[in-house]
């Protein structure tokens, strides 16, 4: 009998007397010890690699720290300055646009392709890999460079448009109106990892539900709405939470496409890019740390809101 199933048997048998309760607690404690032992490598990493630097960065966020001189305590100064920093507000606007537009589009794309692949076509492993590929490449420098060349005035996109007789002279990457959208497009293109998770989720939905629904005369669309979506909702929720967190941290694409400037005219100034500029270009690590903590709070709030609303639409089978 494995430890887990043993534990669940104990939990199921209700403890009646205080003596039994104590025994049970002891039993559980012993199991926890083993659990913590197994977790130890991860816990050490958490404390040393994540916890320590996080506390340090929390401290630094209350200081004026140039990296070169010792940090100097300034209280809430950095946070107050953030209120009146136009570039910070711009970077928030850019990042929110990216998350709010990019993530849903990417998930819809992922789900659509996953459903297509779930139709039991031949050579599924091949197509799955091909569609997954952009996910691995998407945040790479090479692809960002390629993106820049595709969307410039004489880039591939405009050349193709011209072949069709459309006089395309817009620089999608150079015009502040469009530059962010090319990066959102890049984000949507990297739909591979949520797609693979969707695909796994779709495979878990028993085929008999669909058969029964067909017998009752339900249309494909009704089947999708009444069977696929509810049964897939935990997976959708999972992907949504993860992708939102990921999208808030987007950095590489914007960094490479704009050569680290967030240009043109700050139209691709992602929050993390601005944080980097403050910390490493302007030597304001205190301010950058404060910005990092604001991002933690923003992501925390988004995740909490997600979990709160999940009660209303996420359906757990068990």
């Amino acid at each position: 009998m494995s430890a887990i199933s043993e534990l669940s048997t104990i939990h199921r048998t209700k403890a009646k007397t205080p003596e039994e309760k104590r025994l049970l607690a002891k039993e559980a404690g012993r199991d926890n010890k083993a659990g913590y032992l197994f977790l130890l490598p991860w816990l050490i990493g958490l404390v040393l690699i994540i916890g320590g630097p996080m506390i340090a960065s929390l401290y630094l966020s209350f200081t004026n720290y140039s990296l070169i001189q010792a940090p100097e305590w300034v209280g809430l100064d950095n946070y107050v300055r953030m209120l009146s920093d136009p570039r910070l507000h711009k970077s928030l606007a850019v990042t929110f646009t990216y998350v709010i537009v990019g993530v849903p589009l990417q998930l819809i794309m992922a789900l659509a392709v996953a459903m297509l692949l779930n139709e039991g076509m031949k050579g599924l492993p091949f197509y799955r890999s091909v569609f997954y590929l952009p996910s691995m490449l998407g945040s790479s420098v090479a692809i960002a460079v390629l993106w820049r060349q595709m969307f410039e005035v004489d880039g591939l996109v405009n050349q193709v448009l011209r072949k069709f007789g459309i006089p395309a002279t817009t620089s999608w990457i150079g015009d502040p109106q469009y530059a962010l959208w090319t990066i959102i497009l890049l984000h949507v293109w990297t739909f591979g990892s949520p797609m693979v998770i969707f695909l796994a989720g779709l495979r878990q939905i028993p085929g008999m539900y669909y058969e029964a629904a067909s017998v009752d005369g339900a249309s494909k669309w009704a089947q999708f709405r009444k069977i696929t979506l509810p049964l897939l909702s935990p997976i959708i929720f999972f992907n949504l939470v993860l992708q939102i967190i990921n999208a808030f941290q987007a950095f590489t694409q914007a960094f490479v496409v704009s050569n680290g400037t967030g240009g043109p005219a700050d139209s691709t100034l992602f929050y993390t890019l601005y944080l980097y500029q403050r910390g490493f270009v302007q030597f304001q690590m205190g301010y950058a740390s404060a910005m990092a903590w604001l991002l933690v709070v923003i992501i925390g709030v988004f995740t909490a809101v997600n979990f709160y609303f999940s009660k209303h639409w996420v359906f757990y089978g068990d």
Binding site: L7, I68, F238, V241, A288, A292
Partner: protein
């Protein structure tokens, strides 16, 4: 199964949140470099770490210089740490923060006061600069203290592409007398005759040419008290750009905006879409090589139409500095002194880092220079009577000027804001950058 799906998802969410914070915490890369300042290693010798950014040629040259120096000075071990320009500064900042900066540091004008004014750089007054050409030493002074030794003279300039001029059937202009307005007219003419996108590319973001423009108005980019110019000068520059754009001299806003992040080998003058492009003299060789033709050079314009009044200066293409915390200050100074004054170093480096500021050394290596380097060397000596005083190094926060100038300028060119508002925003942002 004891874990239901909800619990699993909650756990995964938590994991993801942890991953978030880890990403942020990891902002300071645990740079493993900085092994240099261990000092006094085996055999009682002296160990020095030397960090520099470079290109394949410079990496090879620098290693050859290090080898030559170590051969001449047994007991000294120098380990070279080559890097790439952008990541170089991230690494140097974290190394300095960790107290293990390299002993010898290749420094840039835009960063020298970030380090120098905060006491991170060694006093280099013991280095012999008596043979240096006038105006080439001051670049390395921060608050009156010499913390950087000019490693090569540089000057802001305009490159011209003979191929495009041929196509336009035009001769190069008289760069000793041209005004800014004539520069625009001329650029527009060559662009239209040659069918090129740009008459002149990349002028907007040239902080050095903007610097001459500001100085022609009797102001400075920076003074001891902070920003040395006002909204009026900045607006003057933006108006000039608007005028050039209207005349189809400087390309469309889209093209200007696209051009900015491009690497050297894809720049407009290299791929043939520009007749002229703003650059620094030390890049002539690399850009010519990439373009596959020997590019010509032109002086920047002036308000008065007199080259002698255009207030250009000898810039340091890069400098040598040493860490204030080095365990072997004398050894670090000795190496920098050797680089600045020894023909052995110069014979390897030639003019790769810029024209040697040491007059005797320059005379020695001049015959060995490549055609492009010869052109630059001639130009640098030609303008000897034209250069004005050397401006102070950009104070902390001032190194951002080129990007801020460009960003608000692009807003102006796209018509998203007026030149007056753009100039105001540019000046405000620079002032706030300089505050800390």
């Amino acid at each position: 199964m004891a874990l239901n799906r909800r619990q699993f998802l909650v756990g995964a969410g938590g994991l993801a949140a942890a991953a978030t914070t880890m990403g942020l915490g990891a902002c300071a890369p645990g740079s493993s470099g900085g092994s240099g300042s261990q000092g006094g290693g085996g055999g009682g010798g002296t160990n020095l770490a030397l960090a520099f950014w470079g290109n394949p040629t410079r990496n090879k040259n620098t290693q050859a210089e290090i080898d030559a120096y170590m051969k001449a000075n047994p007991g000294v071990t120098i380990s070279g740490q080559p890097g790439e320009f952008n990541t170089y500064w991230d690494k140097l900042a974290t190394q300095t923060a960790g107290g293990n900066a390299p002993d010898i540091i290749q420094m840039d004008m835009n960063y020298i006061s970030e380090y120098g004014s905060r006491g991170a750089l060694l006093d280099l007054s013991k280095v012999d600069v008596s043979k240096f050409v006038e105006g080439t030493v001051d670049s390395g002074k921060i608050n009156g203290k010499l913390v950087g030794i000019n490693a090569g003279i540089n000057s802001a300039i305009i490159f011209a592409s003979p191929k495009v001029f041929e196509k336009a059937k035009m001769d190069l202009p008289d760069d000793k007398t041209w005004t800014w307005d004539q520069l625009i007219e001329f650029s527009a003419e060559v662009a239209s005759k040659a069918g090129a996108s740009f008459g002149l590319a990349s002028l907007l973001q040239s902080d050095a040419l903007f610097g001459t423009f500001v100085r022609q108005h009797g102001k400075e980019l920076f003074t001891e008290n902070g920003l040395g110019f006002d909204v009026a000068e900045a607006q003057g520059w933006y108006d000039l750009m608007l005028k050039g754009q209207k005349a189809k001299a400087f390309g469309t806003p889209e093209q200007a905006s696209e051009e900015q992040p491009k690497p050297l080998d894809q720049s407009a003058i290299v791929v043939g879409t520009a007749a002229m492009q703003a650059y620094n003299t030390n890049q002539l060789e690399a850009v010519s090589a990439a373009a596959g033709q020997q590019l010509k050079i032109l002086r920047g314009a002036s308000l008065a139409g007199k080259a002698t009044e255009r207030k250009t200066w000898y810039k340091a293409s890069m400098l040598w500095s040493a860490s204030a915390k080095t365990k072997n200050p004398d050894a670090a100074i000795a190496w920098i002194n050797w680089f600045a004054n020894s023909p052995d170093a110069a014979n390897i480096d030639l003019a790769e880092r810029g024209i040697p500021p040491n007059a005797e050394i320059l005379a020695e290596v001049k015959p060995k220079l490549s055609p492009a380097q010869q052109t630059v060397a001639k130009y640098i000596s030609d303008i000897k009577t034209e250069v004005a005083t050397t401006p102070i190094a950009p104070p902390p926060g001032g190194g951002t000027i080129a990007t801020v100038l460009f960003r608000h300028g692009i807003d102006v060119l796209f018509g998203r804001t007026s030149s007056a508002d753009g100039a105001q925003k540019f000046v405000d942002e620079m002032k706030s950058n300089l505050q800390r």
